[in-house]
Each structure stands twice: as C-alpha cells, then as structure tokens.
Amino acid sequence: MSNPQQLRYSKEHEWLSSAEDGVSTVGITEHAANALGDVVYVQLPEVGDTVTAGETCGELESTKSVSDLYSPVTGEVVAANQDVVDDPSLVNSAPFEGGWLFKVKVTDEPGDLLSADEYTDFAS
C-alpha cells in the first residue's frame, strides 16, 4: 500500500490534506483501515463541532472492535461525509478518497504531523 505524498499523517493513523481556503480534509489511512477490518459503523463529528488535535471526535466500528477517531488538528468541522455514514465500507475500499471522514477549518495544528515517508516508516 502507498500513502499519498501530498497528505500529512498523525500517529493515530489519520491523514490530513493540505488546506484549501483554510479547510483540510481528514480520513483514516489504508493501514488503519486494514487493521480494523470491515468497517460497519462510523460516527463522525457534526458540522459546527469544534475538534481538538489528539482528542477523540468520533468512532469507527468494525466486525471485531471499536476504535476512537482522533482529530489530527484543531478547528471547526465544516463538513461530514454522509456517504461513509451510509456506507462505511468506503473506509476500506477508498480510505484516501471516497472514504474521507470530515472537513475542518483549521485553527491550530500540532507540529508533529508526519510526512508520507515518515508515516510509512512509522506504520511498518
């Protein structure tokens, strides 16, 4: 599996797109999706919620387990992906694309986000 170069990554296995008009997209990595197995339920933060870097903001449930969703950055949620709520398998089939989770207007980001290569090393 390969982690897109243009994204940055958290150690909780979320990815973050570069900001457009201050808004970044957040999802979980393919590595995380594979580790979870078939995702069957996704609970996302709601539009207008404030999320904080490193804190939980939702949950992902698979056949065998439930995992907290952590926000990689601090900011205000401006969109949540209703498609993954309706069809959580998108997280497995397209974690970096159609399986994105939410969009956030970033007010602060931690300094320890990883590059694609750093994350690839971290997750291996």
Binding site: G37, D38, V40, Y41, T63, K64, N92
Partner: protein, 374 residues
C-alpha cells in the same frame, strides 16, 4: 514453556495468502485473508476453507473407553453409533461447564476408540480432567493434539467440492457422522460437522498432509467460489447460527441448564458421572425458578454490541451480552445475551443494550438468527 504462539502446519501457506494473523488460545491463527464479510458470505452462499488445527484432539481407547467417557462427560457415550458424532460437555463436580466437546466414535465394539475434540483454549484442562477421571477404568487417554491438523470446508458447495477429491461415500455420510477415507490422496477422518450453520465437513489429517489437502481443496473449489476463511468470519457464522462459544456463552460459572443446554446432560445413563449430583439440583432449580435465558437481540440502529455490555430495560440492567457482532446476513448488529426471564420472551418491548453509555434499542428474538434451508 515458551510464550511464543504455536503455529499450525499451514502457517507458511496462510502468510503467503496474505492472512492477517491473530493470537487465539496460544495459537497464531488466520483472522481473515481479505474482507471478513466477503468470507462470511462465501460460506453462506458458496464455500469456505478453514484451518482449525488449533482444536484439541484427545483419543480414548481400551476395553472400558466408553465407560470412562460416560463417567467423565455428561452425555451418554453408550448410545453413539459407530461412525457417529455427539455434541456433549465436560463439567466440574459442581456442575460448572469445563468445555463443550464433540465425541466421534471411531472403533468397533471389539476395539473401542473415541476421538474427543475440545476447544483450543481448554485442550490441556480437558485432557487432564479426562485422564484423571479415566484412571479407574481400563482405558487409555492419549494426547493427539500434535497428531492432527484439522481443515474444514463449509458451505452449500462443500459436498460437491469434496466429492471431486474423494471416493468416500459422502451421500451416505449424515450430519454429525464421521468416516475414515482418502481425500486428495491423503488419509483423513471425514466428519460432517461444523460451526457455521451450513452443511460442511471437517477433515482430520496428519499435519504433514495438511498443505497438500488445503491446496487440493482450493483447486477443487475454485470454480465453485471457495475462499480461504479466517476465525473472524467463523465467529460471525456461529453467532448467526446461535451456536455457543466457550468463554462467552459457556463458562465454569454456568451449568448446561443455565445455558439452556440441559438436554446434553443424560441422567438416565448407567453409572455415576462427574457433576451428576450438582446437575440434578441445577435441573430442578431451572425447572422451579428459570434462570436468565439465552436470547438473541437484533439492533434497530447500527452500533455494535460486544461481550460484557449490559442489557437494559426501564433503566435497569436485566442481562448481559455474551457475544455480539455486525451480522453480514441480517445486515444489522446482533447479540447473544443472558436476559432475565421477565424480559426474555421474543418481542418483549423496551429492551436495549448499553453501548458506551447510550441505550440502543434492540429486538428480542429466539435463537438462532439464521437457519439454512434444507
């Protein structure tokens, strides 16, 4: 003893297939190869191939093998016909369930031989208990865990697949029966048993023959859509089929009567057996004062119940989930739970499960969730 997990004889093959492995009862076992939902659905509609070599085999032979097992276990071993199998249990003196077992009768009356198959996590305890309980009988108890690999082929296409690699009379092999034969050129005990709710077979073979058998079945099943399957889908398959799992629905704190499986206890059999006295009391108590009942619960929402979650009604805890998972067949989360008799009737209103602080509504149903069309 080393803490390193034990490897089955198919370990290298699983890794070459890209399996996600998991530690299960001290064994490194395939959890899934790809999507566990796809594996589950393959077994329901086509066929799946499982490595179950972690299961614990114990052979009991000798003139009094039957008597020894009748004393050690709660079932009536005397009534198992040659080539037949029986689901039974081994209990403590106090009636608590040590394990659930399948006993295969392999030998003629002149040369008695029984194969006892225990859960991996209990294999040593069961072996020790049977050995101790058989001490007063003219019988020999043998640890055969290393003598067998166990491969299961399960699903509606499994008879056709197996037929293409054996001359054994599969049509004559009934559910819960086993016969010795040759499969893909290797000697095997062919049993029509399983833990999926589907028709299927379990093949006990020498470990050195396991890979050859696995490859032959993979090839034979290719056109029928057979896929390798891990323990994750085995769990959702058995859960849908309402089959109990040791450590979840069955524990030493429960008697077979508590688990709604009092029928496996055969008081009418000859002679004493370990737990008889306590189990007679448990049977009476269950009759007079029904304990919590094992029921099925189907979610109205999408959050998944897990073992240990509380079943609630009217703000009170009325039971506990023993197993829960998203059901691929029903498309909804399901659970098996012990629930107070007052809330255990199918259709009881107002029952929910406490999922991390939120009471999610659940429908009470009778088990199983899924029954195959015959």
């Amino acid at each position: 003893m080393s803490n390193a997990p034990r490897l089955t004889s198919l370990d290298a093959l699983h890794r070459s297939l890209g399996a996600t492995m998991t530690d299960f009862a001290g064994w490194d076992m395939p959890l899934r190869y790809g999507s566990e939902r796809d594996e589950h659905n393959a077994v329901r509609t086509r066929a799946g191939l499982f490595d179950l070599s972690h299961m614990g085999e114990i052979t009991v032979t000798g003139p009094e093998a039957m008597k020894a097992l009748n004393y050690a276990l709660v079932g009536n071993i005397a009534t198992i016909g040659l080539g037949r199998a029986r689901y039974t249990m081994i209990c403590q003196e106090d009636g608590g369930i040590v394990d659930d077992l399948i006993v295969y009768r392999l030998g003629e009356t002149e040369a008695p031989e029984y194969l006892v198959v225990a859960n991996a996590g209990n294999a040593q305890i069961v072996l020790d208990a049977i050995t101790e309980r058989a001490a007063g009988f003219d019988a020999e108890v043998r640890d055969d865990r290393d003598a067998y690999a166990l491969i299961a082929v399960q699903g509606p296409e499994s008879p056709g697949i197996l037929k293409s690699v054996t001359d054994a009379d599969l049509d004559g092999l009934k559910y819960y029966a086993g016969l010795p034969g040759t499969v893909a050129g290797v000697p095997a005990l062919i049993a029509r048993t399983g833990y999926t709710g589907e028709d299927g077979f379990e093949l006990f073979v020498a470990p050195e023959h396991a890979e050859r058998l696995w490859r032959a079945l993979t090839e034979a099943g290719q056109d029928a859509g057979l896929v390798p399957c891990g323990l994750s889908c085995r769990d959702t398959l058995r859960l849908e089929a309402g089959m109990p799992l040791y450590g979840h629905e069955l524990t030493t704190a429960l008697t077979p009567f508590d688990a709604g499986l009092g029928r496996v206890v055969k008081f009418e059999k000859d002679g004493d057996f370990v737990g008889r006295k306590a189990l007679e009391a448990a049977a009476e108590k269950a009759e007079a004062n029904p304990p919590r009942k094992l029921v099925g619960l189907i979610a109205e929402g999408r959050r998944v119940p897990r073992a240990g979650f509380s079943v609630v009604a009217g703000g009170e805890v009325v039971g506990e989930v023993t197993s829960g998972a998203p059901s691929p067949t029903l498309g909804k989360p399901i659970a098996i739970a012990y629930v107070d008799a007052a809330h255990a009737a199918p259709g009881t209103e107002g029952v929910g499960i406490d999922i991390r602080g939120t009471h999610e509504a659940y429908e009470v149903v009778a088990l199983p969730f899924y029954k195959r069309q015959k």
